[in-house]
């Protein structure tokens, strides 16, 4: 899809030819790391913003502070603050936001209305009430909400809503036994315990959209790509019956994860100037709007959201509101691995193999072990002359 944006760029920059390579998202992280190890990185890449700390630590990507400061094409104030922040590692900027991703609530407006919950819940307590109501109305064999067990994002979003950070001590230790995370995990597990969510991964559900259409679940914590998918895959009769809303928080509207992808320039690039020009081009509001039309991915710049088509998109409003309330995930290189462990251990808790307390302790144990090398390296760096 990006390839369609490029002829214009190449026209404006004669002599520059851009070759695009697609990577399936699930393999992209491994592939890019392998490329780095194998010295075959591209010049510029779209990197998941949670991977930036890792690639920065490896010295694979170049700092962009100077370039951003000197460029009118990338104005800081126009970007959602939480998203912008996610590109910084230890005060240095390594990426320019390309598109944003966060989690909001998708729901079946018709079913939740019948359950007595016409307005989307803003607090956890109200949310639980609505879920219980929907479960009663939906009938036997159906559930209230889908929280796929192979996704770490929903639980992480709940954790980010707490006052306690996920990692402590500058990203040196796990902080999972904190009251905040325990509260989030407790709430998460209780939704399964109460039979409000099925203990399933999304591959087991196989066709999420069909099941949403059949009322197998009425709430779904998911991301922007599903706006387009729901429009494409749900039957026309249901198109008026689904909505989006920002996530509820413990005591009021909640924060969500500041996800998305950024544009990074690899240090090994032999054409850094041209690469940066491409970054500037792709940061233009009109280009971002065109990209959005091609892929459905949401732009990171506020003024891009004022474009008529997007401004009129009712389901996108929830994202607009949510994006003002997002927090980055811990910016340590080990984050991908930690996110994996959060997903694994929380699955164990959901399946009843571990209590919430045990799960929190287990996460702390595993993550502390994972971060040992980081602690050693940071200590060494501090003591180095």
């Amino acid at each position: 899809m990006v390839a369609q944006l490029l002829p214009e760029f190449e026209r404006q920059h004669p002599g520059v030819h851009v070759r695009v390579q697609q990577l399936p998202w699930t393999a992209a992280h491994e592939k890019l790391l392998t490329a780095f190890v194998g010295d075959s990185t591209p010049d510029i890449a779209q990197l998941g913003n949670t991977w930036i700390p890792e690639f920065a630590e490896l010295g694979a990507i170049a700092p962009l502070d100077a370039r951003v400061a000197a460029s009118p094409a990338v104005p800081r104030e126009d970007y959602f603050p939480g998203i912008w922040e996610s590109n910084f590692v230890d005060g240095t900027q390594f990426g320019v936001p390309w598109y944003v991703d966060t989690r909001v609530l998708f729901y079946r407006a018709d079913l939740v209305r019948r359950a007595g919950c016409p307005d989307p819940p803003r607090t956890w307590a109200r949310w639980e009430q609505c879920l219980a109501g929907v479960k009663r109305v939906a009938g036997a064999g159906n559930y209230a909400i889908l929280l796929p067990l192979n996704e770490f994002a929903p639980l992480t979003a709940l954790a980010l809503q707490q006052d306690d950070p996920i990692l402590a001590d500058g990203g040196r230790r796990g902080n999972f036994r904190s009251p905040g995370f325990r509260r989030a995990l407790s709430f998460y597990v209780s939704l399964f315990d109460q039979g409000l969510a099925p203990t399933a991964t999304d591959t087991q559900i196989s066709n999420v959209w069909d099941e949403f259409g059949k009322g197998y679940f009425s709430y779904y914590v998911s991301g922007p790509w599903n706006i387009g998918e729901f429009r494409r895959r749900l039957p026309p009769s249901l198109q008026q019956d689904w909505r989006t809303a920002p996530l509820p928080g413990p005591t009021g509207p909640g924060t969500s994860v500041a996800g998305g992808s950024s544009l990074v320039v690899f240090r090994a690039s032999r054409h850094p100037e041209a690469a940066w020009q491409l970054v500037e081009y792709l940061s233009r509001i009109d280009v971002q709007e065109r990209f959005r039309q091609l892929t459905g991915d949401l732009p990171p710049r506020r003024s891009a959201w004022d474009a008529p088509v997007l401004a009129a998109d009712r389901e996108a409003h929830a994202f607009r509101e949510q994006l003002e309330r997002v927090r980055p995930m811990p910016r340590v290189p080990e984050w991908e691995h930690i996110a994996d462990e959060i997903q694994i251990v929380s699955s164990l808790a959901v399946h009843g193999r571990l209590s919430v307390e045990e799960a929190a302790a287990e996460l702390d144990r595993r993550v502390d072990a994972m971060l040992e090398k980081r602690r050693w390296m940071l200590a060494r760096r501090r003591s180095a002359p």
């Binding site: 392998t34 490329a35 190890v37 010295d39 066709n207």
Partner: protein
């Protein structure tokens, strides 16, 4: 001589086993000809309502499978030719040419068959990186140039060449290499075919190593592409079946055509071992 009861029992066993073996493959072909979403129905359909080639068309136009197919073909063919080049001579040398340490080296080779290949994969990757072979056809081919199994196979077969034949040629003054090329090679032809079939199949079906060494999409082989496809397109079963057909069919066809050689090699390699 009566064995194991009645003909009915024997044929029942064979028919059940054949159905067990063939059903998934036949069904794979059937689903690949179905329309998108047709197979996700209950009860699951056995045959397509109206067979269509749209999945194949989509694979070739949108998913670039032609390139991937080409890669697999190219790599498998190259691996086969290279394997013949490296392993045949070695197999003969171990069978019929006396050189110091021959038996000891051979024993070490056979023993190392126990070592799982994956042990070497990580340092091999780093080694190839230093040679600049990561993400290239060379990176896929180079580690597989010589194969202990291939050498073993050729050796076993070469040992059946009568020594007198070689002696006669030596007495007439022929050099060892000439003996190899003009007398031995023609005699080895059946095992060459066997080795070629084995190598082609192994290379075509190889999954783990190309997955690791190839990062570029346009260099991928079919199994790797299919794995990627199946992780991305969890919903589009008909499309994936079409991909599976393309991946599975060539080895099957090759096997059907050259069964004799393949099975003979299998037996040579295993019973003697």
């Amino acid at each position: 001589m009566k064995r194991l009861g009645s003909p009915l029992l024997v044929h029942l066993v064979l028919v059940l086993l054949a159905a067990f073996s063939l059903f998934p493959l036949l069904w794979m072909v059937s689903v690949s000809l179905m329309h998108a979403g047709e197979a996700s129905a209950y009860p699951p359909p056995l045959l397509p309502a109206s067979p269509t080639l749209e999945n194949y068309r989509e694979l070739f136009t949108r998913s670039g499978i032609a390139r991937t197919l080409g890669n697999s073909l190219l790599l498998a063919t190259a691996a086969t030719l290279l394997s013949l080049l490296f392993n045949v001579g070695a197999g003969y040398a171990f069978a019929r040419l006396p050189f110091p340490g021959r038996e000891r080296i051979f024993r070490v080779l056979v023993l190392s068959l126990v070592i799982p290949g994956q042990v070497a994969m990580l340092p091999l990757f780093l080694l190839l990186k230093s040679m600049g072979l990561v993400n290239s056809y060379g990176g896929v081919l180079v580690p597989a140039l010589a194969s202990i199994f291939g050498i073993f196979l050729v050796r076993e077969y070469a040992r059946t060449i009568p020594e007198e034949l070689l002696e006669a040629a030596r007495i007439e003054g022929a050099g060892e290499l000439r003996i190899f090329f003009s007398i031995v090679l023609p005699l080895l032809r059946p095992i060459l075919v066997t080795l070629a079939v084995f190598t082609f199949l192994a290379s075509w079906n190889d999954f783990m190593w190309p997955l690791i060494i190839l990062t570029d999409q346009h260099l991928q082989t079919l199994p790797v592409a299919l794995a990627g496809l199946s992780r991305e397109h969890v919903q589009d079963n008909e499309l994936m079946m079409a991909g599976a057909v393309l991946t599975v069919l060539p080895p099957l066809v090759l096997f059907l055509a050259l069964q004799r050689y393949y099975l003979r090699g299998l037996l040579l390699g295993s019973i003697k071992g």
